[in-house]
Protein backbone atom coordinates (compact mmCIF):
# COMPACT_ATOMS: atom_id res chain seq x y z
CA UNK A 1 0.00 0.00 0.00
CA UNK A 2 2.82 2.35 0.82
CA UNK A 3 4.24 1.88 -2.64
CA UNK A 4 1.03 2.95 -4.36
CA UNK A 5 -0.15 6.09 -2.62
CA UNK A 6 -2.79 6.78 -5.22
CA UNK A 7 -4.22 3.32 -4.95
CA UNK A 8 -4.95 3.72 -1.24
CA UNK A 9 -6.38 7.15 -1.94
CA UNK A 10 -8.64 5.83 -4.64
CA UNK A 11 -9.74 2.78 -2.64
CA UNK A 12 -10.56 5.00 0.35
CA UNK A 13 -12.54 7.33 -1.87
CA UNK A 14 -14.51 4.48 -3.41
CA UNK A 15 -15.32 2.91 -0.03
CA UNK A 16 -16.53 6.23 1.34
CA UNK A 17 -18.46 6.92 -1.84
CA UNK A 18 -20.32 3.61 -1.56
CA UNK A 19 -21.75 4.66 1.80
CA UNK A 20 -21.72 8.44 1.78
CA UNK A 21 -23.28 9.16 -1.61
CA UNK A 22 -26.48 7.15 -1.05
CA UNK A 23 -26.52 8.26 2.61
CA UNK A 24 -26.43 11.92 1.62
CA UNK A 25 -29.01 11.34 -1.08
CA UNK A 26 -31.37 9.68 1.38
CA UNK A 27 -30.78 12.38 3.98
CA UNK A 28 -31.62 15.00 1.33
CA UNK A 29 -34.80 13.19 0.31
CA UNK A 30 -35.96 11.85 3.67
CA UNK A 31 -34.37 14.11 6.26
CA UNK A 32 -32.27 12.81 9.13
CA UNK A 33 -35.13 11.02 10.91
CA UNK A 34 -35.73 7.28 11.02
CA UNK A 35 -38.01 5.78 8.33
CA UNK A 36 -41.61 5.32 9.48
CA UNK A 37 -42.56 2.32 11.58
CA UNK A 38 -44.83 -0.04 9.65
CA UNK A 39 -45.93 -3.03 11.74
CA UNK A 40 -47.75 -4.59 8.82
CA UNK A 41 -44.46 -5.23 7.02
CA UNK A 42 -42.10 -6.55 9.67
CA UNK A 43 -39.17 -8.63 8.43
CA UNK A 44 -40.12 -8.06 4.79
CA UNK A 45 -37.75 -9.93 2.48
CA UNK A 46 -35.40 -8.28 0.04
CA UNK A 47 -37.42 -6.59 -2.71
CA UNK A 48 -37.27 -3.64 -5.08
CA UNK A 49 -39.19 -1.53 -2.60
CA UNK A 50 -36.93 -2.58 0.31
CA UNK A 51 -33.48 -3.44 -1.13
CA UNK A 52 -32.30 -4.93 2.17
CA UNK A 53 -35.68 -5.89 3.61
CA UNK A 54 -37.32 -4.41 6.69
CA UNK A 55 -36.47 -4.64 10.39
CA UNK A 56 -38.58 -5.85 13.38
CA UNK A 57 -40.44 -2.51 13.31
CA UNK A 58 -41.18 -2.71 9.60
CA UNK A 59 -38.68 0.04 8.82
CA UNK A 60 -36.67 -0.13 5.63
CA UNK A 61 -33.26 -1.41 6.74
CA UNK A 62 -31.31 0.32 4.00
CA UNK A 63 -32.91 3.70 4.62
CA UNK A 64 -32.53 3.30 8.38
CA UNK A 65 -28.86 2.33 8.21
CA UNK A 66 -27.92 4.94 5.62
CA UNK A 67 -29.71 7.69 7.56
CA UNK A 68 -27.83 6.45 10.61
CA UNK A 69 -24.57 6.60 8.68
CA UNK A 70 -25.33 10.17 7.64
CA UNK A 71 -25.99 11.19 11.26
CA UNK A 72 -22.92 9.35 12.56
CA UNK A 73 -20.66 10.96 9.97
CA UNK A 74 -22.16 14.37 10.80
CA UNK A 75 -21.30 13.92 14.48
CA UNK A 76 -17.81 12.69 13.58
CA UNK A 77 -17.15 15.62 11.23
CA UNK A 78 -18.29 18.22 13.76
CA UNK A 79 -16.17 16.64 16.54
CA UNK A 80 -13.09 16.44 14.33
CA UNK A 81 -13.51 20.04 13.16
CA UNK A 82 -13.80 21.16 16.77
CA UNK A 83 -10.74 19.18 17.85
CA UNK A 84 -8.75 20.35 14.82
CA UNK A 85 -9.49 24.05 15.30
CA UNK A 86 -8.94 24.12 19.07
CA UNK A 87 -6.00 21.70 18.87
CA UNK A 88 -4.28 23.71 16.15
CA UNK A 89 -4.58 26.97 18.06
CA UNK A 90 -3.31 25.38 21.29
CA UNK A 91 -0.57 23.52 19.41
CA UNK A 92 0.64 26.72 17.76
CA UNK A 93 0.71 28.49 21.12
CA UNK A 94 2.63 25.58 22.64
CA UNK A 95 5.09 25.69 19.74
CA UNK A 96 5.70 29.41 20.05
CA UNK A 97 6.48 29.46 23.74
CA UNK A 98 7.31 26.86 26.35
CA UNK A 99 3.78 26.14 27.52
CA UNK A 100 4.03 23.18 29.86
CA UNK A 101 0.46 23.70 30.99
CA UNK A 102 -0.92 23.09 27.50
CA UNK A 103 1.17 19.97 27.04
CA UNK A 104 0.14 18.83 30.51
CA UNK A 105 -3.50 19.17 29.53
CA UNK A 106 -2.72 17.21 26.39
CA UNK A 107 -1.33 14.47 28.63
CA UNK A 108 -4.62 14.45 30.52
CA UNK A 109 -6.18 12.99 27.39
CA UNK A 110 -3.97 9.94 27.86
CA UNK A 111 -6.08 8.97 30.82
CA UNK A 112 -9.54 10.12 29.72
CA UNK A 113 -11.04 7.88 27.07
CA UNK A 114 -14.19 9.35 25.47
CA UNK A 115 -16.39 6.82 27.19
CA UNK A 116 -15.42 8.24 30.62
CA UNK A 117 -15.99 11.85 29.49
CA UNK A 118 -19.31 10.81 28.02
CA UNK A 119 -20.22 8.90 31.20
CA UNK A 120 -19.56 12.02 33.30
CA UNK A 121 -21.49 14.28 30.93
CA UNK A 122 -24.45 11.92 30.60
CA UNK A 123 -24.67 11.48 34.38
CA UNK A 124 -24.64 15.22 34.89
CA UNK A 125 -26.69 16.45 31.94
CA UNK A 126 -28.36 13.45 30.31
CA UNK A 127 -27.56 12.16 26.84
CA UNK A 128 -27.18 14.80 24.15
CA UNK A 129 -25.54 15.21 20.76
CA UNK A 130 -23.54 18.16 22.11
CA UNK A 131 -22.16 16.07 24.95
CA UNK A 132 -21.15 13.30 22.57
CA UNK A 133 -19.43 15.75 20.21
CA UNK A 134 -17.61 17.27 23.18
CA UNK A 135 -16.47 13.85 24.42
CA UNK A 136 -15.13 12.76 21.03
CA UNK A 137 -13.48 16.13 20.39
CA UNK A 138 -11.82 16.20 23.82
CA UNK A 139 -10.39 12.75 23.19
CA UNK A 140 -8.95 13.78 19.84
CA UNK A 141 -7.55 17.06 21.16
CA UNK A 142 -4.24 15.82 22.69
CA UNK A 143 -3.02 14.18 19.47
CA UNK A 144 -3.98 17.29 17.56
CA UNK A 145 -2.03 19.54 19.94
CA UNK A 146 1.03 17.30 19.80
CA UNK A 147 1.10 16.98 16.03
CA UNK A 148 0.54 20.70 15.45
CA UNK A 149 3.23 21.63 17.95
CA UNK A 150 5.77 19.26 16.49
CA UNK A 151 5.09 20.31 12.91
CA UNK A 152 5.07 24.01 13.78
CA UNK A 153 8.39 23.68 15.59
CA UNK A 154 10.05 22.17 12.54
CA UNK A 155 8.94 25.24 10.59
CA UNK A 156 9.85 27.74 13.30
CA UNK A 157 13.54 26.74 13.26
CA UNK A 158 13.86 27.61 9.56
CA UNK A 159 15.97 30.58 8.57
CA UNK A 160 13.16 32.42 6.83
CA UNK A 161 11.26 32.58 10.10
CA UNK A 162 14.23 34.31 11.69
CA UNK A 163 14.35 36.64 8.68
CA UNK A 164 10.66 37.37 9.02
CA UNK A 165 11.15 38.07 12.69
CA UNK A 166 14.04 40.43 11.94
CA UNK A 167 11.78 42.21 9.48
CA UNK A 168 9.59 43.02 12.45
CA UNK A 169 6.76 40.55 11.96
CA UNK A 170 4.89 39.57 15.08
CA UNK A 171 4.24 35.98 16.19
CA UNK A 172 0.62 35.98 15.02
CA UNK A 173 1.65 37.11 11.53
CA UNK A 174 4.39 34.48 11.37
CA UNK A 175 2.01 31.74 12.47
CA UNK A 176 -0.67 32.78 10.02
CA UNK A 177 1.49 33.50 6.97
CA UNK A 178 4.37 31.05 7.34
CA UNK A 179 3.58 28.23 9.73
CA UNK A 180 -0.09 27.53 9.11
CA UNK A 181 0.09 27.22 5.30
CA UNK A 182 3.06 24.89 5.68
CA UNK A 183 1.45 22.53 8.16
CA UNK A 184 -2.01 22.63 6.58
CA UNK A 185 -1.47 19.48 4.45
CA UNK A 186 -0.34 17.57 7.52
CA UNK A 187 -3.37 18.78 9.47
CA UNK A 188 -5.63 17.60 6.66
CA UNK A 189 -4.09 14.12 6.79
CA UNK A 190 -4.49 14.06 10.56
CA UNK A 191 -8.12 15.19 10.36
CA UNK A 192 -8.93 12.47 7.83
CA UNK A 193 -7.44 9.75 10.04
CA UNK A 194 -9.19 11.25 13.09
CA UNK A 195 -12.51 10.88 11.30
CA UNK A 196 -12.02 7.11 11.31
CA UNK A 197 -11.45 7.13 15.07
CA UNK A 198 -14.34 9.53 15.63
CA UNK A 199 -16.72 7.23 13.77
CA UNK A 200 -15.60 4.29 15.90
CA UNK A 201 -16.04 6.39 19.06
CA UNK A 202 -19.50 7.53 17.94
CA UNK A 203 -20.53 3.96 17.23
CA UNK A 204 -19.28 2.76 20.61
CA UNK A 205 -20.84 5.62 22.59
CA UNK A 206 -24.17 5.32 20.80
CA UNK A 207 -24.20 1.58 21.30
CA UNK A 208 -23.78 2.11 25.03
CA UNK A 209 -26.51 4.76 25.08
CA UNK A 210 -24.02 7.49 25.90
CA UNK A 211 -24.23 9.12 22.49
CA UNK A 212 -26.79 11.35 20.80
CA UNK A 213 -30.25 10.28 22.00
CA UNK A 214 -33.19 9.23 19.78
CA UNK A 215 -35.12 9.97 17.59
CA UNK A 216 -32.35 10.54 15.02
CA UNK A 217 -31.01 7.08 14.11
CA UNK A 218 -27.31 6.33 14.14
CA UNK A 219 -25.21 3.27 13.47
CA UNK A 220 -24.30 2.41 17.07
CA UNK A 221 -27.90 2.58 18.28
CA UNK A 222 -29.07 0.59 15.27
CA UNK A 223 -26.64 -2.16 16.30
CA UNK A 224 -27.81 -2.05 19.89
CA UNK A 225 -31.47 -2.36 18.92
CA UNK A 226 -30.86 -5.16 16.41
CA UNK A 227 -28.52 -7.14 18.68
CA UNK A 228 -31.26 -9.30 20.22
CA UNK A 229 -32.29 -10.48 16.76
CA UNK A 230 -28.85 -11.86 15.96
CA UNK A 231 -29.98 -15.47 16.11
CA UNK A 232 -32.99 -15.30 13.80
CA UNK A 233 -31.90 -12.37 11.61
CA UNK A 234 -28.10 -12.12 11.66
CA UNK A 235 -28.13 -9.79 8.64
CA UNK A 236 -29.81 -7.14 10.78
CA UNK A 237 -26.64 -7.02 12.90
CA UNK A 238 -24.24 -7.52 10.01
CA UNK A 239 -25.41 -4.56 7.94
CA UNK A 240 -24.91 -1.65 10.37
CA UNK A 241 -21.56 -3.11 11.44
CA UNK A 242 -20.37 -3.49 7.86
CA UNK A 243 -21.40 0.10 7.22
CA UNK A 244 -19.31 1.30 10.17
CA UNK A 245 -16.41 -0.81 8.89
CA UNK A 246 -16.65 0.61 5.37
CA UNK A 247 -16.64 4.16 6.71
CA UNK A 248 -13.71 3.58 9.09
CA UNK A 249 -11.74 1.67 6.45
CA UNK A 250 -12.49 4.39 3.91
CA UNK A 251 -11.28 7.22 6.14
CA UNK A 252 -8.23 5.20 7.24
CA UNK A 253 -7.21 4.47 3.65
CA UNK A 254 -7.94 8.01 2.54
CA UNK A 255 -5.71 9.26 5.38
CA UNK A 256 -2.94 6.81 4.52
CA UNK A 257 -3.16 7.69 0.84
CA UNK A 258 -3.04 11.42 1.58
CA UNK A 259 -0.06 10.89 3.90
CA UNK A 260 1.85 8.92 1.27
CA UNK A 261 1.01 11.49 -1.39
CA UNK A 262 2.23 14.21 0.97
CA UNK A 263 5.49 12.34 1.63
CA UNK A 264 5.97 11.82 -2.10
CA UNK A 265 5.44 15.53 -2.72
CA UNK A 266 8.01 16.32 -0.03
CA UNK A 267 10.57 14.00 -1.57
CA UNK A 268 10.10 15.65 -4.93
CA UNK A 269 10.74 19.06 -3.43
CA UNK A 270 13.93 18.00 -1.67
CA UNK A 271 15.71 15.47 -3.87
Amino acid sequence: MTTHPNRALRAGGILLGIVLLPATLIALLNGDQAPPIDVMHRYAPVSLLHPLGTDPFGRDIMVHVLTGAFNSVTIAVISVCLATIVGTVLGLIAAARPARSIMGLADLGLAFPPVLIAALLVTALGASATGEILAIALFGLPAQIRITRQAARSILIQDYIAASRLAGRGPVYIMRRHVLPNILPLLTVQATSSLALAILSDAGLSYLGLGAPPPRPNLGRALASYQIHIFDHPLLVAIPGLTIMLLVLGFNMLGDGLRDALDAAHEEQTP
Binding site: M1, V237, N252
Partner: protein, 334 residues
Protein backbone atom coordinates in the same frame (compact mmCIF):
# COMPACT_ATOMS: atom_id res chain seq x y z
CA UNK B 1 20.96 19.43 32.15
CA UNK B 2 21.98 15.92 31.21
CA UNK B 3 25.25 14.17 31.69
CA UNK B 4 27.12 13.92 28.41
CA UNK B 5 26.28 10.62 26.81
CA UNK B 6 29.89 9.38 26.56
CA UNK B 7 30.30 9.32 30.32
CA UNK B 8 27.72 6.64 30.65
CA UNK B 9 28.98 3.12 30.29
CA UNK B 10 27.28 1.31 27.43
CA UNK B 11 25.06 -1.52 28.43
CA UNK B 12 24.64 -0.29 31.96
CA UNK B 13 20.97 -0.05 32.67
CA UNK B 14 20.34 1.33 36.07
CA UNK B 15 16.78 2.51 36.56
CA UNK B 16 17.51 5.87 38.11
CA UNK B 17 20.84 6.26 36.38
CA UNK B 18 19.04 7.01 33.15
CA UNK B 19 17.22 10.00 34.52
CA UNK B 20 18.66 13.29 35.55
CA UNK B 21 18.07 14.55 39.04
CA UNK B 22 15.18 16.64 37.87
CA UNK B 23 13.56 13.90 35.83
CA UNK B 24 13.20 11.59 38.78
CA UNK B 25 10.87 14.05 40.40
CA UNK B 26 9.47 15.82 37.39
CA UNK B 27 7.60 12.95 35.76
CA UNK B 28 5.76 11.67 38.86
CA UNK B 29 5.08 15.25 40.01
CA UNK B 30 3.63 16.13 36.63
CA UNK B 31 1.44 13.05 36.66
CA UNK B 32 0.32 13.89 40.17
CA UNK B 33 -0.64 17.39 39.07
CA UNK B 34 -2.54 15.85 36.17
CA UNK B 35 -4.36 13.54 38.54
CA UNK B 36 -5.37 16.52 40.67
CA UNK B 37 -6.67 18.30 37.56
CA UNK B 38 -8.50 15.11 36.57
CA UNK B 39 -10.09 14.87 40.02
CA UNK B 40 -11.20 18.51 39.76
CA UNK B 41 -12.74 17.85 36.35
CA UNK B 42 -14.59 14.80 37.64
CA UNK B 43 -15.76 16.59 40.78
CA UNK B 44 -16.90 19.61 38.79
CA UNK B 45 -18.82 17.47 36.31
CA UNK B 46 -20.57 15.64 39.14
CA UNK B 47 -21.25 18.58 41.43
CA UNK B 48 -21.31 21.90 39.60
CA UNK B 49 -23.61 21.04 36.75
CA UNK B 50 -27.33 21.69 37.24
CA UNK B 51 -29.58 19.09 38.82
CA UNK B 52 -30.02 18.07 42.42
CA UNK B 53 -28.85 14.48 42.87
CA UNK B 54 -31.15 14.03 45.86
CA UNK B 55 -34.15 15.17 43.82
CA UNK B 56 -33.15 12.85 41.00
CA UNK B 57 -32.80 9.92 43.38
CA UNK B 58 -36.05 10.44 45.23
CA UNK B 59 -38.13 11.26 42.19
CA UNK B 60 -40.57 14.09 41.54
CA UNK B 61 -42.96 13.44 44.43
CA UNK B 62 -40.35 13.53 47.20
CA UNK B 63 -41.30 15.37 50.36
CA UNK B 64 -39.14 18.36 51.38
CA UNK B 65 -38.24 16.56 54.67
CA UNK B 66 -36.85 13.50 52.93
CA UNK B 67 -34.97 15.77 50.53
CA UNK B 68 -33.35 17.62 53.44
CA UNK B 69 -32.53 14.33 55.15
CA UNK B 70 -30.91 12.96 52.03
CA UNK B 71 -29.04 16.23 51.49
CA UNK B 72 -27.63 15.83 54.95
CA UNK B 73 -26.74 12.18 54.39
CA UNK B 74 -24.95 13.00 51.14
CA UNK B 75 -23.18 15.99 52.65
CA UNK B 76 -24.73 18.27 50.05
CA UNK B 77 -25.23 21.15 52.48
CA UNK B 78 -21.46 21.57 52.84
CA UNK B 79 -19.58 24.08 50.70
CA UNK B 80 -18.07 22.83 47.44
CA UNK B 81 -14.41 23.08 48.52
CA UNK B 82 -15.05 21.15 51.69
CA UNK B 83 -17.02 18.52 49.78
CA UNK B 84 -14.08 18.17 47.39
CA UNK B 85 -11.58 17.92 50.26
CA UNK B 86 -13.82 15.39 51.96
CA UNK B 87 -14.07 13.28 48.82
CA UNK B 88 -10.32 13.30 48.06
CA UNK B 89 -9.48 12.54 51.67
CA UNK B 90 -11.83 9.57 51.70
CA UNK B 91 -10.64 8.43 48.26
CA UNK B 92 -7.03 8.42 49.42
CA UNK B 93 -8.02 6.37 52.44
CA UNK B 94 -9.70 3.80 50.22
CA UNK B 95 -13.21 4.91 51.15
CA UNK B 96 -15.05 5.24 47.84
CA UNK B 97 -18.39 6.18 49.33
CA UNK B 98 -21.71 4.38 49.28
CA UNK B 99 -23.79 3.57 46.24
CA UNK B 100 -27.14 5.42 46.20
CA UNK B 101 -28.80 2.53 44.44
CA UNK B 102 -27.36 -0.59 46.02
CA UNK B 103 -26.64 1.02 49.40
CA UNK B 104 -23.35 -0.87 49.75
CA UNK B 105 -19.80 0.53 49.76
CA UNK B 106 -18.66 1.41 46.24
CA UNK B 107 -15.32 -0.28 46.91
CA UNK B 108 -17.10 -3.60 47.45
CA UNK B 109 -19.05 -3.20 44.19
CA UNK B 110 -15.87 -2.42 42.29
CA UNK B 111 -13.99 -5.26 43.97
CA UNK B 112 -16.62 -7.76 42.87
CA UNK B 113 -16.65 -6.43 39.33
CA UNK B 114 -12.88 -6.41 38.97
CA UNK B 115 -12.96 -10.21 39.08
CA UNK B 116 -13.98 -10.30 35.45
CA UNK B 117 -12.71 -6.91 34.22
CA UNK B 118 -9.09 -7.26 35.30
CA UNK B 119 -8.51 -10.74 33.82
CA UNK B 120 -10.31 -9.62 30.67
CA UNK B 121 -8.03 -6.62 30.14
CA UNK B 122 -4.91 -8.66 30.94
CA UNK B 123 -5.95 -11.46 28.61
CA UNK B 124 -6.74 -9.01 25.81
CA UNK B 125 -3.43 -7.22 26.27
CA UNK B 126 -1.45 -10.48 26.23
CA UNK B 127 -3.32 -11.66 23.16
CA UNK B 128 -2.85 -8.41 21.26
CA UNK B 129 0.88 -8.16 22.03
CA UNK B 130 1.35 -11.89 21.53
CA UNK B 131 -0.12 -11.82 18.03
CA UNK B 132 0.61 -8.24 16.95
CA UNK B 133 4.37 -8.35 17.60
CA UNK B 134 5.07 -11.60 15.66
CA UNK B 135 2.81 -10.55 12.79
CA UNK B 136 4.43 -7.11 12.54
CA UNK B 137 7.88 -8.72 12.65
CA UNK B 138 6.89 -11.16 9.95
CA UNK B 139 5.61 -8.35 7.72
CA UNK B 140 8.75 -6.25 8.25
CA UNK B 141 11.11 -9.19 7.67
CA UNK B 142 9.37 -9.89 4.36
CA UNK B 143 8.91 -6.27 3.42
CA UNK B 144 7.52 -5.67 -0.04
CA UNK B 145 6.56 -9.29 -0.65
CA UNK B 146 3.10 -10.65 -1.21
CA UNK B 147 3.10 -11.85 2.41
CA UNK B 148 3.75 -8.31 3.66
CA UNK B 149 1.07 -6.82 1.41
CA UNK B 150 -1.43 -9.48 2.39
CA UNK B 151 -0.74 -9.05 6.10
CA UNK B 152 -1.00 -5.28 5.86
CA UNK B 153 -4.30 -5.60 4.04
CA UNK B 154 -5.74 -7.86 6.73
CA UNK B 155 -4.36 -5.56 9.42
CA UNK B 156 -5.93 -2.50 7.81
CA UNK B 157 -9.24 -4.35 7.70
CA UNK B 158 -9.15 -5.47 11.34
CA UNK B 159 -8.07 -2.02 12.48
CA UNK B 160 -11.32 -0.70 11.06
CA UNK B 161 -13.69 -3.20 12.66
CA UNK B 162 -15.58 -1.91 15.69
CA UNK B 163 -14.63 -4.33 18.47
CA UNK B 164 -18.17 -4.64 19.81
CA UNK B 165 -19.54 -5.55 16.39
CA UNK B 166 -16.79 -8.11 15.98
CA UNK B 167 -17.87 -9.45 19.37
CA UNK B 168 -21.46 -9.83 18.15
CA UNK B 169 -20.45 -11.57 14.95
CA UNK B 170 -18.17 -13.89 16.90
CA UNK B 171 -20.97 -14.83 19.27
CA UNK B 172 -23.11 -15.60 16.26
CA UNK B 173 -20.44 -17.88 14.81
CA UNK B 174 -18.86 -19.52 17.84
CA UNK B 175 -21.71 -19.55 20.35
CA UNK B 176 -24.98 -19.60 18.48
CA UNK B 177 -23.92 -21.63 15.44
CA UNK B 178 -20.99 -23.79 16.51
CA UNK B 179 -21.78 -23.88 20.27
CA UNK B 180 -18.10 -23.81 21.18
CA UNK B 181 -18.10 -21.04 23.73
CA UNK B 182 -20.72 -19.32 25.90
CA UNK B 183 -22.27 -16.22 24.37
CA UNK B 184 -22.77 -14.23 27.52
CA UNK B 185 -22.49 -14.10 31.28
CA UNK B 186 -19.71 -14.93 33.67
CA UNK B 187 -19.86 -17.83 36.15
CA UNK B 188 -17.23 -16.35 38.50
CA UNK B 189 -13.99 -17.93 39.63
CA UNK B 190 -15.69 -19.99 42.32
CA UNK B 191 -16.84 -22.55 39.74
CA UNK B 192 -13.27 -23.28 38.75
CA UNK B 193 -10.89 -21.66 36.37
CA UNK B 194 -11.95 -23.39 33.13
CA UNK B 195 -15.56 -22.11 32.88
CA UNK B 196 -14.47 -18.59 33.85
CA UNK B 197 -11.74 -18.58 31.21
CA UNK B 198 -14.17 -19.98 28.65
CA UNK B 199 -16.54 -17.10 29.37
CA UNK B 200 -13.73 -14.58 28.93
CA UNK B 201 -12.26 -16.07 25.75
CA UNK B 202 -14.56 -14.52 23.15
CA UNK B 203 -14.62 -11.07 24.81
CA UNK B 204 -10.83 -11.08 25.08
CA UNK B 205 -10.40 -12.08 21.44
CA UNK B 206 -12.87 -9.43 20.30
CA UNK B 207 -11.00 -6.81 22.33
CA UNK B 208 -7.59 -8.00 21.21
CA UNK B 209 -8.07 -8.18 17.45
CA UNK B 210 -8.24 -4.43 16.65
CA UNK B 211 -5.46 -3.81 19.20
CA UNK B 212 -3.34 -6.55 17.65
CA UNK B 213 -3.82 -4.93 14.26
CA UNK B 214 -2.64 -1.58 15.59
CA UNK B 215 0.31 -3.24 17.35
CA UNK B 216 1.31 -5.21 14.25
CA UNK B 217 1.23 -2.15 12.05
CA UNK B 218 3.30 -0.18 14.51
CA UNK B 219 5.71 -3.08 15.05
CA UNK B 220 6.25 -3.32 11.31
CA UNK B 221 7.11 0.35 10.81
CA UNK B 222 9.24 0.39 13.97
CA UNK B 223 11.25 -2.62 12.81
CA UNK B 224 11.65 -1.26 9.28
CA UNK B 225 12.89 2.02 10.71
CA UNK B 226 15.33 0.22 13.04
CA UNK B 227 16.62 -1.92 10.18
CA UNK B 228 17.58 1.23 8.28
CA UNK B 229 19.79 2.51 11.13
CA UNK B 230 23.57 2.73 10.88
CA UNK B 231 24.23 0.28 13.70
CA UNK B 232 22.44 -2.43 11.74
CA UNK B 233 24.83 -1.92 8.84
CA UNK B 234 27.72 -2.00 11.29
CA UNK B 235 26.49 -5.28 12.75
CA UNK B 236 26.16 -6.75 9.27
CA UNK B 237 29.72 -5.62 8.53
CA UNK B 238 30.85 -7.33 11.72
CA UNK B 239 29.59 -10.59 10.33
CA UNK B 240 26.12 -11.00 11.80
CA UNK B 241 23.82 -12.92 9.52
CA UNK B 242 20.67 -11.26 8.23
CA UNK B 243 18.59 -13.29 10.66
CA UNK B 244 21.02 -12.66 13.52
CA UNK B 245 20.77 -8.91 13.02
CA UNK B 246 16.99 -9.11 12.91
CA UNK B 247 16.54 -11.20 16.04
CA UNK B 248 19.39 -10.09 18.25
CA UNK B 249 19.82 -6.43 17.39
CA UNK B 250 16.90 -4.98 15.48
CA UNK B 251 14.04 -6.67 17.31
CA UNK B 252 14.91 -5.59 20.88
CA UNK B 253 15.39 -2.02 19.64
CA UNK B 254 12.18 -2.02 17.65
CA UNK B 255 10.15 -3.43 20.54
CA UNK B 256 10.66 -0.39 22.74
CA UNK B 257 8.35 2.00 20.84
CA UNK B 258 5.78 -0.78 20.71
CA UNK B 259 5.75 -0.91 24.52
CA UNK B 260 5.23 2.85 24.57
CA UNK B 261 2.32 2.36 22.20
CA UNK B 262 0.84 -0.29 24.50
CA UNK B 263 0.89 2.32 27.28
CA UNK B 264 -0.79 4.91 25.08
CA UNK B 265 -3.42 2.43 23.89
CA UNK B 266 -4.45 1.60 27.45
CA UNK B 267 -7.37 4.08 27.61
CA UNK B 268 -8.60 2.70 24.28
CA UNK B 269 -8.49 -0.76 25.79
CA UNK B 270 -10.48 0.50 28.78
CA UNK B 271 -13.12 1.90 26.42
CA UNK B 272 -13.21 -1.38 24.52
CA UNK B 273 -13.60 -3.34 27.74
CA UNK B 274 -16.59 -1.27 28.80
CA UNK B 275 -18.30 -1.83 25.45
CA UNK B 276 -17.43 -5.50 25.10
CA UNK B 277 -18.60 -6.23 28.64
CA UNK B 278 -21.90 -4.78 27.60
CA UNK B 279 -22.12 -7.01 24.50
CA UNK B 280 -21.40 -10.19 26.49
CA UNK B 281 -23.29 -9.05 29.61
CA UNK B 282 -20.21 -9.62 31.73
CA UNK B 283 -20.69 -8.31 35.27
CA UNK B 284 -17.58 -6.12 35.09
CA UNK B 285 -16.64 -2.55 35.93
CA UNK B 286 -17.87 -1.32 32.55
CA UNK B 287 -21.31 -2.69 33.20
CA UNK B 288 -21.22 -1.17 36.69
CA UNK B 289 -20.33 2.22 35.24
CA UNK B 290 -23.13 2.10 32.68
CA UNK B 291 -25.71 1.03 35.25
CA UNK B 292 -24.54 3.81 37.53
CA UNK B 293 -24.75 6.37 34.70
CA UNK B 294 -28.28 5.28 33.84
CA UNK B 295 -29.39 5.42 37.47
CA UNK B 296 -27.43 8.58 38.23
CA UNK B 297 -25.60 6.78 40.99
CA UNK B 298 -23.18 9.66 41.43
CA UNK B 299 -20.83 8.15 44.08
CA UNK B 300 -20.25 5.13 41.86
CA UNK B 301 -19.65 7.18 38.69
CA UNK B 302 -17.44 9.72 40.46
CA UNK B 303 -15.24 7.18 42.25
CA UNK B 304 -15.11 4.59 39.50
CA UNK B 305 -14.05 7.15 36.88
CA UNK B 306 -11.46 8.55 39.28
CA UNK B 307 -10.18 5.05 39.99
CA UNK B 308 -9.88 4.18 36.29
CA UNK B 309 -8.10 7.45 35.54
CA UNK B 310 -5.72 6.90 38.46
CA UNK B 311 -4.98 3.32 37.40
CA UNK B 312 -4.34 4.32 33.80
CA UNK B 313 -2.08 7.15 34.94
CA UNK B 314 -0.07 4.91 37.28
CA UNK B 315 0.32 2.25 34.60
CA UNK B 316 1.43 4.96 32.21
CA UNK B 317 4.16 6.14 34.60
CA UNK B 318 5.29 2.54 35.11
CA UNK B 319 5.34 1.96 31.37
CA UNK B 320 7.40 5.13 30.80
CA UNK B 321 9.82 4.01 33.49
CA UNK B 322 10.08 0.53 31.98
CA UNK B 323 10.71 1.93 28.49
CA UNK B 324 13.37 4.28 29.82
CA UNK B 325 15.00 1.49 31.74
CA UNK B 326 15.11 -0.63 28.61
CA UNK B 327 16.35 2.21 26.44
CA UNK B 328 18.56 4.66 28.34
CA UNK B 329 18.87 6.88 25.25
CA UNK B 330 15.30 8.07 25.69
CA UNK B 331 15.97 9.73 29.01
CA UNK B 332 18.48 12.11 27.48
CA UNK B 333 16.29 13.42 24.69
CA UNK B 334 14.14 16.23 25.95
Amino acid sequence: MDKPAHRRLPGRRRFLGTMTGMDIFRIPVERLLLLIVASLVIFAAMNLLPGDPAAVMLGLDASPESLTALHHQLGLELSLPSRYAHWINAFLHGDLGRSYIYDVPVSRLIGERLQSSLPLILLAMLLSLGTGIPLGTMAAANRGTALDNGLMGVIQLFKSIPDFWLAMMMTFLFSLTLHWLPSSGFPGWGEGIAPALRALTLPAIALAIPQAAITARFMRSSLIETLSQDFIRTARAQGYSRGGVLWRIALPNALIPVLTLAGIQLPVLVTGTIIVESVFSLPGCGKLLLEAVNQRDIPVVQNLVMLIVTAVMILNVLMTALVRWLDPRLGTES
